[in-house]
Amino acid sequence: MGHIHTAGFCLAIFLGTVTATANAATIEPQDVVIRDAEVEASLTGSPGDPVEGSKWFKSRKLGNCLACHGNRDQIGEPFHGDIGPPLDGVADRYSEGELRAILVNAKSVFGPETIMPGFYRVFDGQRVREEFQGKPVLTATQVEDVIAYLKTLKEE
């Protein structure tokens, strides 16, 4: 009896701490500073999870990076798009800060004409469907997860 109680209590404290840190450190989309095509610091204050990032990469509902990019690491997934360059070895081509800038707002790196969406930006007044208004495509945590995943894509 006593054991169960203690465990429950500990878990509660633990959760409380995690949420508190995440809230304090998370940078909102409108506050992200892109300097020289880089965003230096993690959007959440902590590193992402590459396993989660791999999920967002292929998810049709979230990142859907695979819609436009080939990726040998996900060769088991059907239908890789070829709108953008394959992302094999992308970690060798870009620093973490550069990858973050590309993900946050691709236009800031590739120019205003790019087809690649900004994933951590908020657009106003351009017929954004109501359920998506005021929201970026990915959360700060998801962006960091994807970055952590991209960092694993190195040429052997």
């Binding site: 709108i83 469907r129 998506f132």
Partner: protein, 278 residues
């Protein structure tokens, strides 16, 4: 009214000022081409391709055999409706327009057209409904209703092979400009415009879909995904949904303007309705 079906549709355009050229791969005998060279001044594309060009050989073949093409179910229903008396005037389409093969041989390729009485352009669906309400004393059909889709498919099919040609001068100009503007304006959470996908990347794949130029000459189109025929405006709506934008309404002035502009971008392509798409 009998619907004439052919095994291999002969798609050929010989419009003045259009240079025809063939495909790089072999087409079945009798099929000419569904690619034309744009010669209009300020046309954003060099070569204009029908969406047919980008589909798999299986889907292409399905479209080209009128006996296999599922879109013909709607064409058949349209043929019946053509001769069906309806409304307070006790008339059918045939009462006034007689043999559709003669009277509708070009109309389907030339919409939207300017309507003086309304002071705006009307597309094929709207013209059909105008004839119903103004000339037959019948209730207009709802957008995407089986009746309106069938009649649109039937009339457009009468114009099959006729090169698309729309008027953009005079009072049509502001509508054309509006359509062009909509085509080039980024919308939705993904912040993309029609031009980004259909001009920049046709021939390339976005996940499982090979991008076409987003041409309109095959509409209404039977989509395997929909398991039915659908209007051009429904397709516009689908594309806006994809980028997480709030779509305009089917039949709205915005989509009408967009239709005019998209048709102009495909000027010279022969009408293919009913096309088959993935």
């Amino acid at each position: 009214m009998m619907v004439k079906r052919t095994k291999i549709a002969v798609l050929s355009a010989a419009a003045a000022g259009l240079v025809m050229s063939g495909y790089a791969f072999a087409l079945p005998e009798g099929v000419d081409t569904v690619q034309v060279t744009a010669t209009a001044k300020d046309h954003p594309l060099d070569e204009i391709y029908s969406g047919w060009h980008f589909r798999t050989p299986e889907t292409q073949a399905l479209q080209q055999d009128d006996f296999e093409n599922p879109g013909f179910l709607w064409v058949e229903q349209g043929a019946e409706l053509w001769e069906t008396v309806d409304g307070s005037e006790q008339k059918s389409c045939a009462s006034c327009h007689e043999d559709a093969a003669d009277t509708m041989a070009t109309a389907g390729a030339q919409m939207p057209k300017w309507n003086e009485a309304l002071g705006k352009p009307v597309n094929l669906e709207q013209q059909i409904n105008l004839c119903r309400s103004e000339r037959m004393g019948a209730k207009p059909w709802k957008w995407e209703s089986s009746e309106l889709l069938s009649m649109t498919a039937f009339v457009r099919n009468q114009s099959r092979g006729t090169p698309v040609e729309v008027q953009i001068g005079g009072p049509m100009t502001p509508w054309f400009e509006k359509g062009k503007d909509l085509y080039n304006t980024r919308v939705g959470q993904l912040d993309l415009a029609c031009v980004n996908c259909h001009q920049g990347y046709y021939g390339q794949s976005i996940r499982a879909d090979r991008l076409s130029q987003g041409q309109s000459n095959g509409f209404p189109t039977y989509r395997l995904k929909w398991q039915k025929i659908g209007s051009l405006h429904r397709r516009f709506k689908g594309c806006m949904d994809q980028v997480r934008a709030e779509p305009y309404k089917v039949g709205s002035d915005e989509f009408l303007a967009l239709e005019l502009y998209v048709n102009w971008r495909g000027q010279g392509l022969p009408v293919e309705a009913p096309a088959v798409r993935q």
